[in-house]
């Protein structure tokens, strides 16, 4: 169903299996290859509200797979600028293209220094190898 296991070098990672693509004071969030593989086939994703404030380490939305409903944790704090309605309609995009068409939200960051606390690709690979 999904692509090959990968953790792109240009992303930063949260230990709760989320990624962030940082562009200045904005970022795009999604869940990692490992997360979608553990969940199995994603059957439901309800994009959150544009304009909502989200806090680092706190859940900002949910994904439902054939196995379970899981919280999605915000890797950074900010305000939601845009949501991926396409992934709401076709949740399988989260499985087939977790770093591309399966993105979840675009966020205006409140504190770019929070990025320091995130893992790089190597650090995240080590975490999931444990």
């Amino acid at each position: 169903m999904a692509t090959e296991e990968s953790y792109p070098e240009d992303l930063r990672y949260h230990p709760e299996h989320d990624w962030a693509r940082i562009e200045g004071d904005q970022a795009t969030f999604g869940i990692t290859w490992y997360a979608q593989d553990s969940l199995g086939d994603v059957v439901f994703f309800d994009p959150p509200e544009v304009g909502a404030t989200i806090a680092k380490d706190e859940p900002y939305t949910e994904v439902e797979s054939v196995k379970a409903v899981s919280d999605v944790i915000a890797p950074l704090s900010g305000e939601i600028l845009e949501v991926n309605d396409e992934a709401g309609t076709n949740p399988e995009l989260i499985n087939t293209d977790p770093y591309g068409q399966g993105w979840m939200v675009k966020v205006k960051l409140t504190d770019t220094s929070e990025v320091e606390a995130l893992l790089d690709a190597d650090g995240y690979r080590e975490l999931i190898a444990e």
Partner: protein, 527 residues
């Protein structure tokens, strides 16, 4: 000796007759004008008056209801055909973790079918249903003794309904204490049954998850950190969903009690401890009992069910109404030595003003009460204790078998402690080394004519298999299950694709679960 094992096919090029037979609904069998019964003429005096002149026109349908038109043999064949496509406990081992799929003794059915039980009308005058009320009262007393809590209500109709009742009782308790407004949180461990957080949310509380320690029990530090004056209740099952009895149970309930919260015991795993330990003695206030799990009522496609609750003295004033009360009359002046006259009454809100009210219509699913009471009486206290012992022994025997060989290598136990009535294995090594998932093993078990265990729960175990054999299974049956898993793993070493494409022998092959969830078709177009 177990039955001769016939190797299930490794591939299925040719569909079986059942697979070729497309499933149809009763509506597709309908032919206009066909009937299963002839309706007799109206018996209303006056004889030949058409029925639609006897019933007020405002109560009559404009168009006939769209009912299937079939003959009686067609109805019988339709449902018999469906039943043969089903897998049930009467067909083979059904080790579905946390569901306690135990045998349903046939004597229960015989007793429940007695006309006095089966034909009792729910609106019967209580004075003319004294036997039924006595049975319900006696069942309440039995459950009280088993749970170690003084008061019982039979009203909740399922375990989840019992949970909701427990949370409503919790709110009533805090309201009486004047701090319901600030107690907004309910603690549940991350191993909890999914219904716990769902019930918490439904009752308007906020779920706060408590972590699990290395021992598979509640993490006491995390519990202490999260327990304060905002906590309304702790919901816990013990043994938990890992099948492990929490060694710190008295300390856990003590922490929450001291902070002013109530203690709720999810009785789903009661089959591990009947007659050995009691939730009330562990410090719990409210317990729900799944009569369809521990007390042998059949698990029947969503109902009818019963999830009675037992509660402590401090929760008692808020119990649902009506409540059944045993009243002794004429005992004070028993000068002539007659036995006192006993009657049973239904008492409502006028006698119990603090009650949370009624939770359902009438008195619950009475047939369920009859079956479970018959089970309790036929086993007795010693028998129930032995049932729990055997359930725990069976789980531990099966775990010992599955700790050997390939199962031991590819499906290690998640928390290496002696379990109670069920245990949880992790399929992570099978996934890594054999490239098959827990779901593939579960599907391949169907070809061995065995129901798979619960899979992918509890969530904190990767690729979980949760196995609860119950006291029902014989040693041969447990060996057969362990042998089947061993055979599946051996086969996967040679060719993992066999498991990935399973099952081959069931009425339908592997289902597209994701497709069904993404694009559900819930209506049938009848043209």
């Amino acid at each position: 000796m177990s039955d001769a094992v016939v190797d299930p096919p490794a591939t299925a090029e040719v569909p079986t007759p059942m697979q070729r037979d497309r499933a149809t609904t009763i509506y597709e069998r309908s032919v206009p004008g066909r009937r299963a019964a002839a309706i007799p003429a109206s018996g209303v005096p006056g004889g030949d008056v058409p029925i639609d002149e006897l019933i007020p026109s405002r109560l009559l349908r404009d168009e006939p209801a769209r009912l299937p038109e079939v003959s009686e043999p067609e109805i019988v064949r339709h449902y018999n055909r469906l039943s043969r496509r089903n897998f049930d406990l009467d067909s083979g081992i059904y080790p579905l973790g946390s569901c306690t799929m135990k045998h349903n003794p046939r004597i229960n059915e015989r007793v429940a079918a007695l006309p006095g039980h089966a034909r009792l009308h729910p609106a019967q005058d209580p004075a003319r249903a004294q036997g039924a009320l006595e049975l319900m009262w006696s069942l309440e007393r039995s459950l009280s003794e088993i749970c170690g809590l003084p008061h019982v209500s039979l009203q909740p109709s399922a375990g989840s309904h019992g949970e909701l009742a427990g949370l409503l009782l919790t709110r009533a308790f805090h309201e009486a204490n004047g701090d319901a407004g600030t107690r907004t949180r309910v603690l549940t461990p991350d191993t909890a049954h999914g219904t716990n957080p769902a019930s918490v949310t439904m009752a308007g509380y906020e779920v706060v998850k408590v972590a699990t320690n290395e021992d598979g029990g509640v993490d006491l530090d995390d519990l202490r950190a999260k327990t304060d004056e905002r906590v309304a209740c702790l919901m816990l099952t013990n043994p938990n969903t890992l099948g492990l009895f929490d060694r710190n149970i008295a300390e856990i309930t003590g922490i929450v009690r001291e902070a002013g919260g109530t203690l709720y015991y999810d009785g789903a795993n009661l089959n591990a401890i009947m007659g050995h330990s009691r939730p009330g003695d562990m410090g719990f206030d409210i317990v729900h009992v799944n009569l369809h799990k521990s007390f042998s009522q059949p698990h029947g496609g969503g109902g009818p069910g019963a999830g009675p609750i037992a509660v402590s003295e401090r929760i008692e004033p808020y119990l649902p109404v009506p409540r059944i009360e045993r009243v002794e009359a004429g005992s004070a002046n028993g000068s002539n030595g007659d036995a006192p006259h006993v009657r049973f009454e239904l008492r409502g809100a006028e006698d119990h003003p603090a009650s949370i009210g009624r939770l359902r219509g009438f008195q619950g699913n009475f047939g369920v009460f009859v079956r479970s009471y018959a089970y309790i009486l036929s086993l007795g206290g010693d028998g129930l204790a032995e049932a729990s012992e055997t359930a725990v022994l069976n789980a531990n025997y099966l775990l010992a078998r599955m700790s050997e060989g390939r199962a031991g290598r590819y499906l290690p136990i998640a928390f290496d402690r002696r379990p109670m009535h069920e245990f949880v294995l992790s399929g992570s090594e099978a996934k890594k080394q054999l490239d098959i998932k827990t779901l593939d093993i579960a599907k391949r078990l169907l070809d061995h004519n065995m129901h798979p265990p619960t899979v992918y729960f509890p969530l904190l175990v990767d690729e979980a298999l949760m196995i609860e054999p119950t006291e029902t299974e014989t040693r041969e049956s447990l060996d057969g299950f362990a042998d089947a898993v061993e055979a599946i793993l051996a086969e996967a070493e040679q060719d993992p694709e066999i498991a990935r494409q399973a099952p081959y022998t069931t009425p339908v092959r592997r289902l597209d679960e994701a497709g069904a969830a993404r694009n559900p078709v819930v209506r049938q177009d009848l043209g």
